[in-house]
Amino acid sequence: MSEREQPETTRPAVTPPRSAPDTPASAPEAAPRAGLRRELPAEVPPAAPQDASDRTGASEAPRQTSAPQAHTPHASQQPQTPQKPQESGTPAAGEPGEPVLTGRRRLVNGLWPPRVTRAQLIVALLLFGLGFGLAVQVASTSDTDSALRGARQEDLVRILDELDDRTERLEDEKQGLEKQREELENSSDQAEEARRQTIEKERQLGVLAGTVAAQGPGIEMTIEDTKGTVESDMLLDAIQELRAAGAEAIQVNGVRVVAGTYLSDADGGVSVDGNKIKSPYRFKVIGKPQDLEPALNIPGGVVQTLEKEQATVTVERSDKIVVDALRAPKRPDYARSSSQ
């Protein structure tokens, strides 16, 4: 089939120019053509021998090259060549413009109109394969891991070594960082512990300094002074006695009694830290009730002294005394901590 097709489609295109050199009239026109043709293999010598095997015109290439040598001397060939254009050349382009049927025209003719011939289908199939392979290769090359794909063995070994080195270095770094993290965690644990203790201490000190409210067992003492005979030194004695008995937090009529508390006499009452309070004086004391109450009631003690002054004193034990009067924390102006 292809053998028959070949003369139909290709021969008319080639043969006319070849027949042209035979006729003396167009000999000058053919000469450059032949020259052009020979020029190609000369231009690229290595391609020349393969040309015959590869160029699809391989079957005809020898004929073509031998044509000027072999055909021209033989007169018997001359009638043969014109014969062919008559057979098949007429349907394609059997006009006088036939010799001008250039490669460009052939390309256009081949492209348009599309012809569904077996040759076209086979070539299309092969080109499909080519395009497919091309696209697949391009796609796989543009993949991310493609760098390794085309790499040679020694390159791969080198890359592997580098990766091993890198892994080792990173492993070392990781160990160092883990150690560091451990230390930091330990130290942060310690810091947490220290902070906890500091908070605890702050609470304890806050109770003493009167900056936080306190509650616990204790006593409540009320001094009724109807005659106005109770003075600040008596209350101070009472406070001292309570402190000596282990009182931890004291407030008098809503005023917290702390280390720096001072008492002074005022009109019709007593001034505690500048706050004037009047009878009845209510002491709320947190401490051990069993110690506090006897300390007040001892003979010649606070209660007896006050009763001698016509004041009424009542002491009650309680399991829950709330000392909620607060003092603002005051930063000392002159005293500085000598620790650290």
Partner: protein, 110 residues
């Protein structure tokens, strides 16, 4: 025309399907593609010369691919696969250029 369509359809199909290249074929595919390209350029040149023959084209296409793959295979077995495939690519590249030059003369007459 149908041949050109076949090429386009092939490229599109390859891009859309994106099949995983089997490991066995992997080293030969690029060389095979270059060899096939060489055959296609040769065929195009032959068509412009007016001496195109589909049978010759098919045979040259397939043999090009097979021989190229064979050379690479042999080179791999001999331990000179990289160099040999470079050589094949160089040779095929030269041929493609010479064919392209011929095609250019035909199409642009220059």
């Amino acid at each position: 025309m149908i041949a050109v369509l076949g090429l386009i359809v092939g490229v599109v199909a390859g891009l859309l399907v994106r099949p995983e290249v089997p490991a066995v074929v992997e080293p030969y595919l690029p060389i095979a593609v270059v060899a096939a390209l060489d055959a296609v350029f040769g065929g195009l040149r032959a068509m412009l010369d007016g001496i195109f023959d589909d049978k010759v084209f098919v045979v040259s296409f397939l043999s090009n691919v097979v021989v190229a793959a064979l050379i690479v295979f042999l080179g791999d077995k001999l331990g000179v696969g990289a160099q040999l495939s470079t050589g094949v690519v160089v040779v095929l590249g030269i041929r493609i250029f010479s064919n392209a030059a011929a095609i250019r003369r035909h199409v642009f007459r220059a």
